[in-house]
Amino acid sequence: MSVLAVLEQSGGQWHRTSWETLAASQQLAAALGQPVEAAVIGTGIHVLAAEASARKLAKVWAIEHDLLDVYTADGYTAALEQLLRKAQPSLVLFPHTYQVRDFAPKLATRFSQVLVSDVIAARSDGGALTLVRQYFQGKLNGDVKVTGDGPVFASLQAGAWRADALENGPTAATVETFVPELSAAQIRQKPEPPFREAARAVDLTQAGIIVSVGRGIKEQANIAVVEDLARALGAELAASRPICDAGWLPMERQVGSSGQTVAPKMYVAVGISGAIQHLVGMKGAKTIVAINKDPNAPIFEVADYGIVGDLFEVVPALAEAARKAKG
């Protein structure tokens, strides 16, 4: 029995949330009284495996195969299934990345289990594990219990555990190379190299103040209201994803996991609920202001200042007050 952290890398670069997952694994393993192991997957990953082995853990599995050079759902699932049958962990933790979303549910199904996804907290009451995840886009939390045979599978929300809590080991842990049996025929997805769309003309990462608009704005024509506040504050205009999807503002102004990650001096969220995919793109802002008619909107979980009210009344008043304050 062990807690296994499945770390993510691509092209020899760690996904930054891998270390959060390892930190969480160390903490839960301590609570469960079990050793921590980690798995790294790819081709030529001994350098990464060695780096991971400096952390406080019992073992690093280097899952090596030529067919694992680029990620595929079929390849990763088959390789990890074989490792899990050998290593027999009681708990398998992943970072909740787009890649993990793509294969971990399939892997869990092979063990007649469910991936408890996007977990924000976990506790062990005498060995019985409770996993906390969000429902209704963060408006409610739920405590989840997992039964059944086979390991418990959970993916962890970015930022829910801190990477700086990671402990280093007194000596380097053993690295064991695991070569899964894979054949090219078994991998049905044929991936092409990643690409970006046209270069971004707007660099929100350089903005000192950002005023960001969400679906609370209702119609494209109303965006002028928020634009005026941005002007009054000398801010760049940004948006949540649905606004850019609708074509009301260009894609390059989208903030969040599939848009830009920003950390301005001040971020003003107007009519944005605060779904995690938006929060990951802006919670590093120094001061966060939220304007929302719903006092329970998850955006208030990260806001320093807030006004609960109708943005169509509040935003013009703010613009006026800002102009006055600036003189």
Binding site: F136, K145, R188, Q189, F195, D245, T287, Y305, A321
Partner: protein, 256 residues
Amino acid sequence: MKILVAIKQVPLRDSPLHANAAGKWIDDGGLSFEVNEPDAYALEAGLQLKEQHGGEVVVLCAGPERAGQTIREALAKGADRAIHIAADNLEALDTLGSAKLLAAAAETEKADLILTGLQSDDVGAGQTGVVMAELLGMPHSTIIMHAEVKAGGIRVKRELENGWFQHIEMPLPAVLTIQSGSSKLRYATLMGIKKAKTKEVRRLTPAELGGLPAAVASIEKIYTPRKNKQTQIFEGDAKTAAAQLIEKLKFEARVI
């Protein structure tokens, strides 16, 4: 080409949400419902592929009686027919359980392509389609923005993190989970709404699909999260609140 689109009915966005008496799910009495947003995009993708390649779009929905309304709306937009797995309390199932029901129903159709939304607004597991693919032995890909049928398979544009994308090819039949915003949604026409009334909705019960699977993961308790952060909230009318906030931003946070 036969395309199956899984759609889920969820509470209207911005619904007031409260735990039910058992504390294990929400009290949905008095709420209004709509189609899960990404599922509307999955339907749109299915309808567009049918327009290009011919064939049929079949809507697949597991939910209580009221889900019939959402199914009719999908038929009005142009789906050819529907399968309604009619059951209450589906929230007691876990993702594996509901995927088993959906996959068992899909099995009877022998579809070339199964589309789901990438994530539901209520449960938000983001995995039903992937689990269905595994149960049905099909390849899959997730967070799809675009799909193009090619000789011997399908080529998709998959969203990666931080503004990156990737094309992937795979053979059919396959399962894709569709991202919101992948194309413009169509509206139902008057004609469509009329026609929808005559379209076939095949009803299946969990019993006909092998019974309700037991859950391995279950919600013990659902609740409003306790706030960890101290947010200074400004009350009063808009003008007063705005003035107070700007003052704080100027003199306390010093960002103006």
